[in-house]
C-alpha cells in the first residue's frame, strides 16, 4: 500500500464528498455533506478518548445528546443565538465529561465500559422523562437555525454547510494539534499503552485522563449542537446506544487512534449509507453493517492502518502471528 494509494482510498472520496456541494449545490447533496461532517467531528471526538487514550466509551451518544439538548433549550426556551448555544454545549459537555471521568479514573476494561454505557442510558432516561425541560419522548423542534433567519431553503442549507464545515474542520484541526503538537498527545498514547509505566515515568495519568474525557465530551457535545441547529429536531433517540455503536463503527472503519481516520471514515461511511438508500432503508444499513464487519476482520486497524502496513509493522505482526499459528498447529 503506497502513500498515493492511501490518499486515493480515503482522502480523495472523502474530500471529494465534502467539496461536492461547492460544485453541485443540490439540496440533497448539501444535506448529506452537512450530516456527514457532524458525524465526522463526533467520531473524531470519540477517537480522542477511546482510540488515542484507550479509554473506550460506549456511551458517547450521551454527550452528543446533551450537546444537542443544550443548544435546543438555550435557543428555544431562552431565545439565545446559536453562537451562544454552540459554545455553551461545548463547555457544558466538557464539564459533564470531567464528571464522568472521575469515577472512570480507577476503572479499566469492562468496568469502564459499564460506566460509560450506564452514562448513555441515564442521559436517555433523563431526556425522555424530564418533559418540562426536554419535551419528553417527542423532543423539541423548530427552535431556530444557525443564523436564526428563515428563508429560501437552499440558501439556508448553503449557509449551514459553510458553518458546519468551518466548525468541524476547525475542530478536526484543534484535535490534531492537541494530539500531534502538544505534550498531551504522547501522554494520551502512553496511558493507552501502559498506565502503570506512564505514571512510573512521571506522567500525571489522572490529569491526562480527565483532560481526554473533558475534551472528547466537549467536541461530542459540539457536534450534537451542530446537529440540533441543522436538523431542528432533538429527541431522546439521538442519545440511543445504537448511536454510540454507530460512531464506534465509523471510527473503527476509519482507523482508531489517528483522529483523521475516524473523521474521514465517518464521512465515507455516512455517504455510503445515504447513497445506498435507493436499495431500501433497511438494506442499506445491512450493507453498511457488512462493510464494517469486513473491515473489522480484514483491516483491523481501519483505513488509517493501511498506512502502518506500508511501514512494515503490520506485516511483521502478521508474520509473527503466522509463525505462532504454525508452531502451535
Amino acid at each position: 500500500m503506497t502513500k498515493t494509494m492511501r490518499v486515493a482510498l480515503i482522502g480523495v472520496p472523502a474530500v471529494a464528498g465534502l467539496a461536492l456541494p461547492l460544485v453541485w449545490s443540490h439540496p440533497f447533496v448539501l444535506h448529506i455533506a452537512i450530516q456527514a461532517l457532524i458525524w465526522a467531528l463526533f467520531a473524531a471526538s470519540w477517537d480522542l478518548l477511546s482510540g488515542y487514550t484507550g479509554q473506550i466509551s460506549f456511551g458517547h451518544a450521551g454527550f452528543f445528546s446533551i450537546g444537542a439538548y443544550t443548544a435546543a433549550i438555550l435557543t428555544k426556551t431562552l431565545a439565545l443565538s446559536s453562537w451562544i448555544g454552540m459554545p455553551a454545549a461545548f463547555v457544558l459537555c466538557g464539564a459533564v465529561g470531567l464528571g464522568v471521568g472521575f469515577p472512570a479514573l480507577r476503572l479499566r476494561g469492562h468496568y469502564l465500559a459499564l460506566v460509560t454505557l450506564g452514562f448513555g442510558e441515564i442521559v436517555l432516561l433523563v431526556a425522555t422523562n424530564w418533559e418540562s425541560l426536554t419535551g419528553g419522548a417527542f423532543g423539541m423542534h423548530d427552535f431556530g437555525t444557525f443564523t436564526g433567519l428563515s428563508g429560501d431553503p437552499l440558501h439556508q442549507r448553503q449557509i449551514s454547510y459553510a458553518i458546519v464545515a468551518g466548525i468541524t474542520l476547525t475542530g478536526l484541526a484543534v484535535l490534531l494539534w492537541i494530539t500531534r503538537r502538544t505534550e498531551a498527545g504522547p501522554a494520551f498514547r502512553a496511558i493507552r499503552e501502559d498506565q502503570v509505566l506512564a505514571a512510573a515515568l512521571g506522567i500525571n495519568t489522572t490529569y491526562y485522563k480527565l483532560l481526554a474525557f473533558t475534551l472528547s465530551a466537549a467536541f461530542a457535545g459540539l457536534s450534537g449542537a451542530l446537529y440540533a441547529y441543522y436538523i431542528q429536531l432533538v429527541s431522546p433517540s439521538i442519545g440511543a446506544s445504537s448511536q454510540s455503536a454507530l460512531v464506534i463503527g465509523m471510527a473503527v472503519f476509519g482507523g482508531i487512534g489517528t483522529i483523521w481516520g475516524p473523521f474521514l471514515g465517518a464521512i465515507l461511511l455516512f455517504g455510503i449509507t445515504e447513497a445506498l438508500r435507493f436499495v431500501g432503508v433497511v438494506y442499506n444499513l445491512i450493507a453498511v453493517g457488512a462493510v464494517m464487519v469486513v473491515f473489522v476482520i480484514f483491516v483491523p486497524r481501519g483505513l488509517a492502518g493501511l498506512r502502518l502496513r506500508r511501514r512494515g509493522r503490520v506485516q511483521r505482526a502478521d508474520r509473527r502471528a503466522a509463525e505462532s499459528a504454525a508452531s502451535s498447529g
Partner: protein, 253 residues
Amino acid sequence: MAAASSSSPPRLAVRGLTKRFGGLLAVNGCSFEVEAGSVVGLIGPNGSGKSTVFNLITNLLHADGGEVLHDGVPIGGLSLHKVARRGIGRTFQEVKIFRELDVWENLGLAALGRGLTDWQDRATSLMADFKFSHLKHETGENLSIGQQRLLEVAMQLLVQPGLLLLDEPLAGVHPVVRDTIADIIRDQRRQGRAILLIEHDMRFVMDLSDRVVVMDHGEKIADGPPSEIRANEQVIEALLGASHRPSDQQGEH
C-alpha cells in the same frame, strides 16, 4: 563508601517497611538506607520480597506499616507519578516498555514524564552505548527481551533520577552488554546518584555494590559490605538453601 554525609539525610531510608498479601507477610519490618553516590545490592532467594520493596518505595503498592523517606521526606502518601517526579526511577522485573511504540518514542515518553525538553542528544548517545542505534524506529514489541530490558534501563538513565531502582537489569540481556551496564552504573554512582540494585548475578552485585542487603522470607537477614556478606553463614544458608530446594531452582540463575 561515598563521601556523603553524616549530617544530611540519606537519599533513601526505608524504616520498618511491612506488607501483607492476605496471610502472606511478603515484607516484614525491613529497614535500610541508600546514600547518595552509592550502590546498594538487594539480594535474596526468589519470593523473599525484593520486588515488593520496590513497589512499596514507588507507591505502586501501599505499605501496611513502616515508612519510606526520600532525602528525609516521607513519600508514602504521594501518587505514583509524583514519586517519579521527585527523581525516583525504577525498572520492573517483568520488563515494562511501551510495546506498540518505537524505541525513540519510548525514550521521548521517559523525557516527557520528567518534563525534559533537551533529551535528544543524550538519548542518541545512550542508544549507541547500548548498541541499538539501528533500532531507533523499531517497535518495542519487535525487540528481543534483552533489547527491551536495555531500553527500559536507557529510559531511566536518560532522565537521570537521583535514586534509581533496578530490578534484575541483567535478566535476558546478552552477556556482551553486561559490562556496559556495569560501567553505566559505576558512572551514575560517581555522579552522586543512589542506586538500589536487585540482581541474581552474585558477581555482578558484589563487584558493583558498596553495601549489600540480604532478604529472606520478607525479612532483612544481613546488611553490610560485600566482603562481609560473602562470609556470612546465614546468608550462604539462605541463598544456597533456596537454590537447593527443587521448587525454586529455576529462579537461581
